[in-house]
Subunit: 145 residues, 4 copies
């Protein structure tokens, strides 16, 4: 069962399934809007994990490299419909393009084939001082862009 936790690579992207729990909802009865960003982030993290990129290790630095982290630089996010308690969400992540120090990803959250969230997320890599740095070439190549 543990193996299923990281979702799976599909086509040139990734799919992850996550459950909506109490913690994700608010008193309006549906999922709190900022929680979708958590689901999107879990999708990106597990996409990187399935590509062989361990963000914990990346942050620590490894094999003589300086520690670096992915940070969210910009998001455009449309909230099309709302999820509810107990729903199972499918989080789809696909790389769109790499531009210098930035990687643009398209992400969607669906529930039973109904689109809930459509997002364009730009991430960048920064060093421990928070300065933008170019992604290591071997890491960048993993996205197949």
């Amino acid at each position: 069962m543990k193996e299923a936790l990281a979702g799976e690579l599909v086509g040139n992207g990734h799919r992850l399934w996550q459950r909506v729990y109490y913690e994700d909802t608010d008193f309006s009865g549906v999922v709190y809007h900022a929680r979708y960003l958590h689901f999107l982030e879990r999708g990106r993290t597990d996409y990187l994990r399935c590509l062989g990129i361990n963000q914990g290790a990346l942050a620590d630095g490894q094999e003589g490299r300086e520690g670096l982290a992915f940070v969210v630089y910009h998001m455009d996010i449309a909230f099309r419909a709302a999820a509810r308690m107990d729903d199972i969400l499918e989080i789809a992540t696909e790389p769109e393009r790499m531009t210098g120090v930035r990687l643009v990803l398209n992400q969607k959250i669906t529930c039973n084939d109904r689109q809930l969230i459509v997002a364009k997320v730009t991430v960048a890599t920064v060093d421990r001082q928070g300065r933008l740095v170019r992604m290591p070439k071997d890491t960048a190549q993993l996205f197949g862009l």
Copy 2:
């Protein structure tokens, strides 16, 4: 002290000050990106509160009106710099325009005059079934647009 909790109306908008606590940060050492949406939402809620709009009462329905809620419809959000534990954030909210059932707000988060977050947030009003409905005229007029 309680009075200070809702921030204050400034010009045609609102300012709110909020502290960064442990809960807002992540292991990278700075504030988790989705947490800024919480700070923005607190700013919008207290802006509405200072205008005399109580979202809890609005959701329950009042004076023979049907219950309705503000929902986030779209966000464009630039993450320019990161806040850290103990920082005090200023959340600025200003209405830009009203278009049919939607209200567009400009929001900024700054810390010691450094811009951290610049966001354009489109909210809409929905009824209890989640259907878009026009904002009541007396509520809409409060934004001075």
Copy 3:
């Protein structure tokens, strides 16, 4: 993969596996203490789900019954060790006893057989007005106490 999301019934209890993501950590480098309560709640929710109790439906009321909800009434929680980004946690839930309107559960969170959290959680059932009510007999019997 979706099937694995709810964990599994084991002995007279339940096991659930969950990943630690960015959102769960704080700037100290490990999981924020209150997040373990989220993991415990996911464990209880999926234990109930595997027993055939759907909390969303229970809250709505069904088959002519009044809506009711499980609420946490008391927790005793020992934080023995800390989890980190990327860890996979095992959340174990076992019923201990039923006393009138209350159900006492023992819950543990482990990571690679290391105990992180040991908790005794008392839950109660309440009606829509938040008043304590006795659990329906057919629901109570599912815990095998």
Copy 4:
């Protein structure tokens, strides 16, 4: 207004006022149980702040000292009543005793004089490797025990 953010020292303890926002509630209509631990933690953090203890600086290490952090070691928490959207909570924190490496605090959350939460929280100080260490004497003395 910023000055009011840290609450105030009262008697031998501390009081902090915090608003309930959307993010704190869940679909049951009231505050999600784990969120009360966030409010308690904000209370402890601002109690320390008012005593002159800056946890951010403490974690970094200062004046030749090793970095150290307060961690929650044990909690006993009774959930007596529930808060709702828009409520203003009073978080009271009082030190009870210091035992070796541990500090026991009594914390209460009330809303309009109604007790919501009664908690006994044991915190400990750990070094960067997460090992229990004795609290520096000048820090320990600040609690007046």
